[in-house]
């Protein structure tokens, strides 16, 4: 039997036992896992050093090396995150609805674990602890497949976390990583229909596309954010400037950063120049339409192409377009956007109401930065990722996204006539 199938069978067995553990037992396991990360930091850092050496030898870029690195400070923060999870309230067992049927059967719908969760991600070993913790909290068995560059780090983290979990009474197989770094192993995982209840890819567009194309198991798609800020003619210009700059510049490499700016033609000549100047001061490359370029507000503006409107730069770049009004803005965003997060800046009540209603995105803002699209900011306590699909979960996902439901029916001998 293949490694992946062996892990999948073990995970399914573990899921059955995990599903009936108590909140207290799972929280104790999380604390044991947090403790184990600190107790075993030398072994983990040593395993990580092997990955770092190999990555350096391959000439991996500094930004990727930084994501790959584990050090005592990072392990401490991973450990604290596990402790924080133990303090969150438990979604499992929540009764979502209940009523008595006309025939006397008492029906209730309760929240249960999904079962077996699989995650495929890139060379960020912190995701290993994060995913293991989220799945332990929600009573799911987890099968992890991290990037090949981080394989030594991931296997050591998995060993440490799984041992801590089983020592505190959790079943064997509740936390597992795939050892094989072959592409075939990931493909086998994606195809295990009936053994994996959900597969969540975390990473770049290429990884996510590959999972969507190949998976036969249910998937939650995460990631792409071509987010817009639209400055309506009723906007306060100073508020507009602050929101646009924040949404673009504060952390340009993440999915909730703004990638495109739309401005009403009634006001663009006065509102845009200070914004373009501040973007330029922040080293943002601007791709704009003719109207914006003819303002001559800044030294250099590229001519925007059709492709720019649809591009998620994930960098200090932005596309800028003047629109005739809210109708054009809404059509443009629904056409070119990725249904992630969009903001309107306006003090016009009707415009705000239309934008909130007609923009088809997971998070729609009035007078606030798109950068707030985040489980932590939304008050979820923990974030699994940001779903860009509409099925099961949409937008920032909290613990509930790792749960399913079950109908419980208590009768007294009822049969169907």
């Amino acid at each position: 039997m293949s490694e992946v199938m062996t892990l999948a069978l073990r995970a399914n067995e573990a899921a059955t036992s995990l599903g009936i553990t108590s909140t207290e037992q799972r929280n104790r396991a999380l604390l044991a896992m947090a403790h184990a990360l600190m107790q075993n930091q030398d072994e983990i850092v040593a395993a990580n050093a092997k990955d770092m050496d190999a990555a350096r030898a391959k000439g991996i870029a500094p930004a990727l090396l930084d994501r790959l690195e584990l050090n005592p400070a990072r392990l401490k923060s991973m450990s604290e995150a596990l402790k924080a999870l133990s303090l969150l309230s438990d979604p499992i067992g929540e009764m979502l609805e209940g009523h008595t049927l006309p025939n006397g059967i008492q029906l209730s719908k309760i929240r249960v674990p999904l079962g077996v969760v699989a995650m495929i991600y890139e060379a960020r070993p912190n995701v290993t602890a994060d995913a293991a913790g989220l799945c332990m909290k929600t009573g799911n068995a987890v099968i992890l497949r991290g990037g090949s560059l981080a394989v030594n780090s991931n296997l050591e983290l998995t060993r440490v976390l799984a041992n801590a979990a089983t020592r505190s009474g959790m079943p064997d197989g509740c936390i597992q990583s795939i050892e094989s770094t072959e592409r075939e192993a990931a493909e086998e995982l994606m195809g295990l229909h009936g053994y994996i209840d959900v597969l969540i890819p975390r990473g770049g567009a290429g990884l996510i596309k590959s999972v969507v194309e190949n998976a036969k198991v249910p998937v939650i798609e995460t990631g792409v954010g071509n987010c817009h800020v639209y400055i309506h003619k009723g906007a306060d210009p100073e508020m507009a400037r602050r929101i646009v700059v924040n949404a673009k510049v504060q952390r340009p490499g993440v999915c909730n950063a703004a990638e495109s700016l739309l401005v009403d033609e009634d006001i663009y000549e006065t509102v845009l120049p200070p914004i373009l100047k501040e973007l330029e001061e922040n080293s943002v490359t601007i791709h704009a339409d003719d109207a914006t370029r003819s303002l001559g507000a800044v030294m250099r503006i590229e001519a925007a192409t059709e492709e720019d409107w649809a591009t998620e730069y994930l960098a200090l770049e932005i596309s800028v377009k003047v629109v005739s009004g809210i109708d054009e803005a809404i059509v443009h965003i629904n056409k070119y956007g990725s249904n992630h997060s969009e903001a309107i800046v306006t003090d016009d009540y009707s415009a705000s109401r239309r934008f909130l209603s007609e923009i088809d995105s997971s998070a729609v803002y009035v007078n606030a930065s798109t950068r707030f699209s985040d489980g932590g900011e939304f008050g979820m306590g923990a974030e699994i990722g940001i779903s860009t699909q509409k099925l099961h979960a949409r937008g920032p996902m909290g613990l509930e996204a790792l749960t399913s439901t079950k109908f419980i029916l208590r009768g007294s001998g009822q049969i169907r006539e």
Copy 2:
């Protein structure tokens, strides 16, 4: 451009407008659709007659011919079902949660349509009206692909329903059927990632398997039910007999019918004989283990094979096994079952509690027939189908299964620090 792609683009455009229609507008459209079915019954029955003639010429089995047939009485009941939908409360716009973030942003989570729903089904033209109605109720555009045997019926039904919907103000493209009966058209539909928000297959195991294997769009799997009744030693024998016979015999061809019976060894010698006799009187073929066979209670019992434990007969057949107690029963059900609906018959409180907690199925019963697993019986008003997956929806699905959510954030200039 292919037919399927043309329909998909039109559906996406329609979905944008549909998403902002009011409850009143959609309910008016449902009533117009109900009315149109009655007004156009001659044309619909004539189109159906072509399908019936072609099917008869092909030598299609009587049961399938019966499912294919449309007559005034059936159209009347389809029309009444659309009217009944208009009376249900609207899930769209429901506010699911809301709170004010520490920075003053007011966050709310509201229920919205999924967008574009696709359904692939077999030669049952009633599904066409049913699916069109459910999607209209929930503000979704729908693309239908019925079985090739029903193509004339489906196209005529679609024409009538879509015309009624657009005449009452709904956008073009809200209800569409694929004309092509080629397999390639269905495959293209399954591959339209980014254009279809969910694909729901309704039909036999082969159809569902093909969709799960080939789809790149999100799928809700429905269908297979290898349901169990477990008679615990604490059962009332008479209640056990009534529940087993009802669950097996009342309608054997549906997914919530029982396919397997487990009985505790402490009581099987007295409890089983009258049940086996009544099953035999109802022409049920029995596949049993040695213990059951050696009872000699009925004339003929087949020896059960390993395959029998995993089989959904969908017919007057049942597998029977004597188990050592609740531990073996739970392990057996979780191993061989399809996680659909299972029942325990017992008057033992602890056994009922364990069964409800440890059986991993979408509906778990104490002292009632599995035949109640149905949206109507559960009080949902309408049923989309019964989901056998854990993602998005599990068990009988009501209107909510055709919805997604959206975060709305109202700020006053907040930016992220």
